[in-house]
Amino acid sequence: MMQTTSKRIKEIQFAFLSPDEIRKMSAAKIITPDTYDEDGYPIDGGLMDTRLGVIEPGLRCKTCGGRVDTCPGHFGHIDLAMPVIHVGYVKLIKRLLTATCKNCGRILLTDEEIEAMKAEMEEKKSMWTTPLDEEIFIKEKLKDTVMRMVCPHCGAEQGRITLDKPTTFREDGYKLTPKDIRERLEKIPDDDLPLLGLNPKVMRPEWLILTVLPVPPVTVRPSITLETGERSEDDLTHKLVDIIRINQRLRENRDSGAPQLIIEDLWDLLQYHVTTYFDNQTSGIPPARHRSGRPLKTLVQRLKGKEGRFRSNLSGKRVNFSSRTVISPDPLLSINEVGVPEACARELTVPIRVTPNNIDTLREIVKRGPTPKDEDGKYVPGVNYVIMHDGRRIRVTEKNAEIVAENLQVGYIVERQVMDGDIALFNRQPSLHRMSMMAHRVRVMPYRTFRLNLAVCPPYNADFDGDEMNLHIVQSEEARVEAKILMEVQNHILSPRFGGPVIGAIHDHITGLFFLTYGDKRFTKDEVVYIFSKIDKPIPPPDIENKYWSGKWLFSAALPEGLNMEFKSSICENCDECLKEKCPIDAYVIIRDGKLVAGTIDARAVGAFKGKIVDKIARDYGPEVAAEFLDFVTRLGIGAIMVRGFTTGIDDEDIPEEAKRRIEEVIREAYKKVDELVAAYREGTLDQLPGRSLEETLEVEVMKVLGMARDEAGRIASKYLGLENSAVIMAKSGARGSMLNLSQMAGSIGQQSVRGERIKRGYFKRTLPHFRRGDLGAQAKGFVKSSYKSGLSPTEYFFHSMGGREGLVDTAVRTSRSGYMQRRLINALEDLRVKHDGSVRNAEDIVIQLKYGEDGVDPSRSVGGKNIDVVDIVEEVLRRKEVAGVGKA
């Protein structure tokens, strides 16, 4: 079925419907406001006329003879008894009225001015990129016509046109009826239209005043039947009924010669209905409402906004062959894989065209029916549908499977259920970057969740606290190839955002690798076998005394040959002088020829966003090697952590009494200093900071003192928390948490803030009734001296909640703001592409950059943003030369 066509729509021409065209394309003239007769059959000449198409099964369209699924629907029309104004063009009508003569219809410019303007327009046209430019030009040129009181062509005196919003025009205070306006617009010659911003090839200004209204096909406004058998009409139908009703009354009254006043009222009413039919949010008039009080959704509302036709149905579409469920982790999957539950797999299918080569295999598969299982009760892909030459689908059931299989012909399409190795697209919202949708290979698994490797959580920003993700099965061969080559996970290890890895080890992987490689650990045969039990790689020979394995040696098994690196790991304490390989805390990583010689492997080495080894391997050895490395390393980490066992609890934050006393001391000291500052402030002896008021100076100073106290408390606490502590290991190795988190748990939480200041809101001159009025001390303004472990006092708890709440509000505001910013950025930049000459151009082929990024280098292939790592290359070349015995010149 998938046929590639080379035909394209080249362009779309927009134009304005003339009354004649509306009548010509109309399949039916609509005259009665009634829709259905007693039998529930559409009335002829009513809004549901079967000439406008059919929405009920069983009926046939009178125009094309098609049924529900074949008839596209046809337009009808309503002849309006009196002309009305089109709301969308009120502003334009005003411009036309003010800029043209009421008598002769010419534009209110002298012949010379017209010539000059035409010439200028012609000259500038080539420079205008958008209609907006023309609009600005015309507006400027026509500005003075408002002042023209006499027509330069016929000498008629001009009135002053005013607009009573939304649709009433007045001339020198007298009302202009749409009929009058139409007559005036008719007089404007075609030659003057371009100067007014209109294109005479597609429209006439008098068409802006409606004399006939197109009625959209019923397929556009289907009615729904409720369970009670009641019919519920579409909002547009309701509105059209109103229009027809008033139109009829207006016509009757006009024909019977009713008083002008009544006719005018009805005319206004018709105008109101037509106005709201187009746009029910026109300012200045009350929106038309449904009986229930809900405002009607009319034409503009259907198109507009996020839920409108454009954004929700045209720019984005709902798709088949997709599924959504909760995700859960599976460390034994490759990063390129996704675990698909059987229930999903039975519904998701891949179309396979029957050819002479595969017909026999496909027969076998079809024969299995829709729910086959092997002897062990394991999932085997079946077939849900077979599509025949004419496009008809046969549902495959247990019963007909044999027959369908027999009748399989070349050219049929078999919809086979997914099986291991199929390509699927996996996505988690919000899809903020291209790594939010990547191609995985399917692994059908029991249970009901999608499974994914933990190393791909960072790009999706996924965790397992109930997150759901979507899976799409790619349907065409072309798309499958693209997905595999361009979208597969391993090709996205390096992010185009900063030219580093976004996929890498997280949490326990890092802790595990830390245990494996830190210091001179050795592992027994039992342990190594346990670690390697889930790794599909040979165990390296023991390197210590022929019976033990060192952790570094085990890690080296994951490294590709010829890898040379040196860097500082996360646990590095940034000593003034780096001892390199002699580092006392084993923080200097050295890899020589694929062997880890020294150093500890942690977040800096393999972590997502930071992992230097991942980065280097992905860049120098290619994505396959990198994917393999990640699979290996994450399993190694998990194996290592499971051999040792790992836990953290609140007792990890236990510190000795001595430390607690010292923290208490530090905080007391700080309080004293704060009190001194406050006293100095009260006495006026506080030294004012330049450019700050006295109050601000006090705040700054107090914050400084308290901040230092908190830091000191943290320092004291962390002195007692060494690398034997699980929580510290996680923080230092970069697995999870920070030392700040720990010091807040063990030492002191510190100052709480709202809007970056100490807490000051609440009661008159105080934050809470627990304090004296005017108390400026530490505790009265939100300093929390307790630690999370010791627990907070009631006032502290309250202040902490205030700070916490601000954080939550901030997050909520931020997501919406940054979401909108990203939408705007995408819209502004979506058309840019690199051309073969290396330049960046937009949709109109205008050059934006002569060379992409000034050096033409793809950021995801750059080395952390640098285009070429010249130093490395020079070193490499020199080394090679030395080996070859050439040496430096």
């Binding site: 907006l132 023209r148 450019g691 819209n827 930049l829």
Partner: protein, 491 residues
């Protein structure tokens, strides 16, 4: 409208319509014309015309003599202007060194470029100069080694060049948009200058892409010229010159209700600190339109302002004027603070920004001075400077938040914003509103408006961009969709 009536009235008296409109627009009424001097009217229209109009209106004061007089004056003025223009043209300050954009490549660099060219690649200048520098550092002189190095570089460069048809715009937008969710919303104290609040994080970034006329916290970093940058006194002097000082800063101002006057008691200490003299105060009082005739110096340091009519409202209006009377400083700059920089002596940071005025000042190093107001940079220094400023501001906003985004993405955004020679915002009033495609604009914002406009203009959507092709349901013209080749298997 009064204008309308004026025009009508003038035309009734036989005045040309064009002239009538001009006069009405200038706010001149018929009664005025009857009494006006020729010179005043001739400010708007040629003197002959003015003479004619006045005659028609029935102005009795005007004579032929006046006409001659006015004509003569006009000619003199024209001459003066012409002279000034000529002088302006000649006056080029030779002492100002115009910075070269691209330095001439060294011999070494030229050689590297040549080798690259032989292999069919035009290496970017940054790579070439890096290579030259490193080779020099490593004291490599052998031609063979150099060729080997360049060969490897060319190989790597070929690998790393972007693929044609890559959707670099979308990648840039995502790369900037994705981390922006992690930015903070709050205003922070500027690192290094604790006294000043500066908008940072997401709000600042949005400000940059919005191309706002003025940032919410305009700020300048003023570097000093070499001769004074290490002189604290001189720097302070300059800062005081820049900073706006209002009367309130240097004086106690009292409102005396019984005498219906405002008493200004100048504070000598404060004046000394701000380096303001009594003469300065008098000078600005003289210049003030409201106050120049109503003040008197009563004592050595006491100035009294009398109110013209004895009303309390008036008195307090005057009080406001007196309080906010600008004594000295540069318009728009509220505060100036001196800081020691790491490598450039004293630097003045200001709250508020006025690039044009600051660059003109003596003692300022115009090469290094900068503002965070991008549109001001555009107006003063031009579009390329604005582009660089967008890049710099965006990068510093992001890196301040600890986010790393490749500079290429930001350059692309900046280039897009400045592509047509003006700073255009990202959004419906800027780039998105100026797209050619009707469908793309309709899909973005203000849907109905764009469709209605397209109808009357008979616009054509060329279907070349992304959004519009998705809407009509055909492959987009980027990436694999841009390839127009079809493989036809051999029979």
């Amino acid at each position: 409208m009064a204008k309308h009536d004026t025009i009508k009235a003038l035309m009734r008296r036989g005045v040309e319509e064009r002239i009538a409109i001009i006069l009405a627009n200038a706010g001149i009424k018929l009664e005025d014309l009857k009494k006006a001097a020729l010179e005043d009217v001739a400010r708007y229209i040629p003197p002959e015309k003015a003479f004619e109009v006045l005659k028609k209106v029935g102005n009795k004061k005007v004579t032929e003599k006046d006409l001659e007089e006015v004509k003569r004056k006009l000619q003199e003025r024209r001459k003066r202007i012409r002279k000034r223009r000529i002088i302006e043209k000649i006056e080029i300050d030779e002492s100002i060194e115009i910075p070269k954009k691209i330095e001439e490549p060294s011999d070494e660099e030229k050689r590297i470029m040549e080798i690259g060219r032989k292999m069919g690649v035009e290496l970017p200048m940054s790579v070439v100069s890096d290579t030259a520098k490193i080779l020099k550092d490593r004291k490599v002189r052998s031609k063979k080694v150099m060729e080997e190095v360049v060969k490897r570089i060319v190989e790597k460069y070929r690998e790393r060049v972007v693929d044609a048809h890559e959707a670099v715009g979308i990648v840039a937008a995502q790369s900037v948009g994705e981390p922006s969710t992690q930015m903070t919303m709050r205003t922070f104290h500027y690192a290094g200058v604790a006294e000043m609040n500066v908008t940072l994080g997401l709000p600042r970034f949005i400000e940059i892409v919005d191309a706002r006329r003025t940032p919410s916290t305009p700020m300048m970093e003023i570097h000093l010229s070499d001769d004074i940058k290490h002189d604290r006194e001189k720097a302070r002097e300059l800062a005081l010159k820049i900073e706006t000082t209002i009367l309130h800063d240097i004086a106690d101002i009292e409102v005396s209700i019984e005498n219906m006057e405002i008493v200004i008691r100048l504070d000598e200490e404060k004046m000394a600190r701000k380096m303001v003299s009594v003469e300065d105060v008098e000078e600005s009082l003289k210049k003030n339109r409201i106050l120049h005739a109503r003040y008197e110096i009563r004592d050595k340091n006491v100035i009294v302002v009398k109110v013209d009519e004895p009303r309390y409202k008036r008195l307090y209006q005057f009080y406001e004027v007196v309080k906010n009377l600008k004594i000295k400083g540069i318009l728009g700059i509220k505060r100036a603070i001196i800081r020691v920089s790491r490598d450039d002596g004293y630097v003045i940071y200001t709250e508020g920004s006025n690039l044009a005025a600051i660059l003109d000042m003596e003692g300022v190093n115009p090469r290094k001075t900068k503002t965070n107001n991008i549109l001001e940079i555009y107006e003063v220094l031009g579009i390329e400077a604005a582009r660089n400023s967008i890049i710099e501001e965006a990068i510093s906003t992001l890196s301040e938040q600890g986010l790393t985004v490749d500079i290429r993405h930001i350059m692309l955004i900046a280039d897009m914003m400045t592509n047509d020679g003006m700073v255009r915002a990202i959004g419906r009033h800027g780039i998105s509103g100026r797209k050619k495609s009707v469908l793309s604009r309709a899909a973005f914002e203000i849907t109905a408006h764009h469709l209605l406009e397209a109808g009357i203009r008979g616009e054509v959507d060329p279907l070349q961009g992304v959004a519009e092709n998705i809407i009509v349901g055909q492959p987009i013209t980027l990436g694999t969709g841009a390839v127009k080749l079809i493989y036809r298997p051999k029979r």
